[in-house]
Amino acid sequence: MSFLGRGSASGSGINNDRIEMAITELDTVTDFFNRMVQSCHAKCISTRYAEGDLNKGESVCIDRCVAKFNDVQKKVGEKLQNRGASNNAGSGGSAFGTL
């Protein structure tokens, strides 16, 4: 993320922490969206590829898939928070030593 380096060099009133947080949020949303695209493709799209258009069944399936995927995201998020797992069950967390 070279832009941050440049940002801090120019010093033109840019708050680096704010920018970093915005980028993390952007990356998170993009990653989430891409996974939704992949999952709903696997669930709804026939891989015979007899035509280039979405047929009726596929279209309806996509709409429901997006709603369900969003719902699953919320439920998993709540579960993670309830479990208080948010801080230390992360992948790799236990693999690092402490400084």
Partner: protein
């Protein structure tokens, strides 16, 4: 995403960041599409030429994936907009 609290220098900076990310996302989507359509459509290795049937499958696969992504994006944006309205009504 809401960048309205950013000052103009920060907004200009984020514009460049987003522009760069969109290019990278496009390139990643392209690579992804090649991989997906190749894996679904190409199964005959008795020749090194792509057959007419394989080519047609690849064209359909590409077109369908784009339409699929667009539809997912549209539904996703709608749901985010609804969630935002719901959030404002609560506060």
């Amino acid at each position: 995403m809401d960048f309205s609290t950013f000052n103009s220098a920060e907004q200009a900076h984020m514009s460049k960041v987003i522009e760069k990310k969109q290019m990278q996302d496009f390139l990643k989507m392209y690579a992804n599409l090649v991989e997906k359509c190749f894996n679904s459509c190409v199964n005959d290795f008795t020749s090194k030429a792509v057959s007419t049937k394989e080519e047609q499958c690849i064209m359909h696969c590409t077109e369908k994936f784009i339409k699929h992504s667009e539809r997912v994006g549209a539904r996703f944006a709608e749901q985010n907009a609804e969630a935002m309205v719901a959030g404002q009504n609560q506060s």
